[in-house]
Point group: C2
Chain length 213, copies 2
C-alpha cells in the first residue's frame, strides 16, 4: 500500500488552482500524505493554506464523545486551511494518498486579494451545506452529495468516491447505516448503479436533481 501510494505520488501532475497566478512565488515543495494521516489538528498553530494536487482531504470537528462532523471534502485543485486567530479550529486528514502544496501567507496585500475569493467560495459552500444538514431528508442529502461530487469531477455521469461510507455519513450528518440504505434504495429504483463500492453511475441524474430542489 505504501508502495502503491508512493508510485501515485511520483506520477502526479500538480494541479493548477483556479485562481490567479499569484500563487507561483508562494509555492512550497509538494508534500505527500499517506491515507489516513493527519495534516493538521484542532488547536495547532495555522501555518498557511494547502492546495490539493492529488488525492482527497477531509476537514472535520469532533465532539468530546467522539461524534464527528466533516465540514468539507477537498479534491484536487481546491485550497483549504483557512483559519481565524492563527489557530486551527478543525482537523484535516488525507483520505487517500494525497499530494499537497503548502501556500505560505504573506503580509502582501496581493495575497489577500488572491485568497479572498477562495475564502468566500468556501463560505458560500459551507452555508449551502447548512441547508442540506438542517432541512433535507436522508435521501435528499445523499442526492445532493452525489450531484456535488459529480459537479466537482467534471460533471461526468460516473463518479469515484474517495471516501468511505462512514466519511459520507459524517459529512451528511447521518449514520453509516442510513447512508447505506439510501444507496441501496437508489440502486433498487434505478437512479444510480454501483459498479464498485466507491464508484457510482448517475443513471437518472434528473431524478437526483429533482430530489434536492
Amino acid at each position: 500500500m505504501i508502495l502503491h501510494s508512493a508510485k501515485a505520488f511520483a506520477n502526479a501532475k500538480p494541479v493548477e488552482p483556479a485562481g490567479p497566478a499569484v500563487w507561483a512565488h508562494q509555492r512550497q515543495p509538494l508534500a505527500f500524505h499517506a491515507a489516513g494521516t493527519e495534516i493538521y489538528a484542532q488547536g495547532e498553530r495555522a501555518e498557511g493554506l494547502y492546495l490539493v494536487t492529488f488525492g482527497a482531504v477531509r476537514v472535520y470537528r469532533l465532539l468530546s464523545d467522539g461524534r464527528r462532523q466533516i465540514s468539507a471534502f477537498h479534491l484536487p485543485g481546491e485550497v483549504f486551511g483557512f483559519e481565524a486567530d492563527g489557530t486551527h479550529h478543525f482537523f484535516a486528514e488525507a483520505i487517500a494518498a494525497t499530494g499537497l502544496q503548502a501556500i505560505k501567507p504573506t503580509a502582501d496585500a496581493d495575497f489577500a486579494s488572491a485568497v479572498l475569493p477562495l475564502a468566500v467560495a468556501g463560505l458560500v459552500r459551507a452555508q449551502e451545506h447548512l441547508l442540506v444538514l438542517g432541512r433535507q431528508s436522508a435521501r435528499e442529502r445523499v442526492a445532493a452529495f452525489l450531484l456535488d461530487m459529480a459537479a466537482r469531477q467534471g460533471d461526468l455521469d460516473e463518479i469515484e468516491l474517495p471516501m468511505s461510507r462512514t466519511d459520507i455519513g459524517d459529512y451528511l450528518g447521518l449514520t453509516i447505516e442510513t447512508v447505506s440504505r439510501v444507496f441501496s434504495r437508489l440502486k433498487e429504483t434505478g437512479v444510480i448503479r454501483l459498479p464498485g463500492l466507491r464508484s457510482v453511475v448517475l443513471a437518472r441524474r434528473n431524478i437526483l436533481e429533482g430530489m434536492c430542489e
Copy 2:
C-alpha cells in the same frame, strides 16, 4: 410601529466594526430597514458588504417547497454579504428595525486585506454550525444557540433574542414545536428562566456548556 422604528433609527449610535479602521473612507450613509424587509434576494447582483449598526439580520436559503434554513444571524458590529460570482446566493432580511452601513468593495488590495479576516471568521462560524446541525440533538442545538447568543452580547447571563421561535427553528434545523419544547424543558429544570418570550436568563450556564461539548 413605523414611528417607533424611526425613533430607534434617529437615536442609534453606529457601531464600530471590530476590524481595522480601513473602513472609514468606504462607508456609505446609514440605511434603515423596517422589521421583516428584504435587504437582498438570492440571484440579485451583489453590491458589497453590510455592517449592522443596530437591530438584527437573518441570512437564509429556501427549498422550492418553502423549507428554509437560516445560515446566520447578524447582530450589531457584524459584517455580512460576502458572495461569490458577484451574485447573491442567499436572502437577507431585517429581523427587527435595523440600521445598515453599506461597504462598497474597491479594487484596492487594502480592501481585500481588511475583509479577508471577516470572511474567514464567517467561514469558521459556518463550519462550526455544521457540527451543530449534523451531529447534535435538539437540546444540544438550543444550548449551543443560547451560549452563542450570550457570547455575542457581551457574555451576560441575560440575553435578548431578536428573532422568533420560527427563526430559531430555521437556524437550528428544528421545528418551532421542538424548539418550544426544549425551551420549556430547560425552564422546568431550572437551567434557564424566561422573563419574556424573547428574553432568556442563563441561570445555570455550566449545565448549558456541558450540553454542547
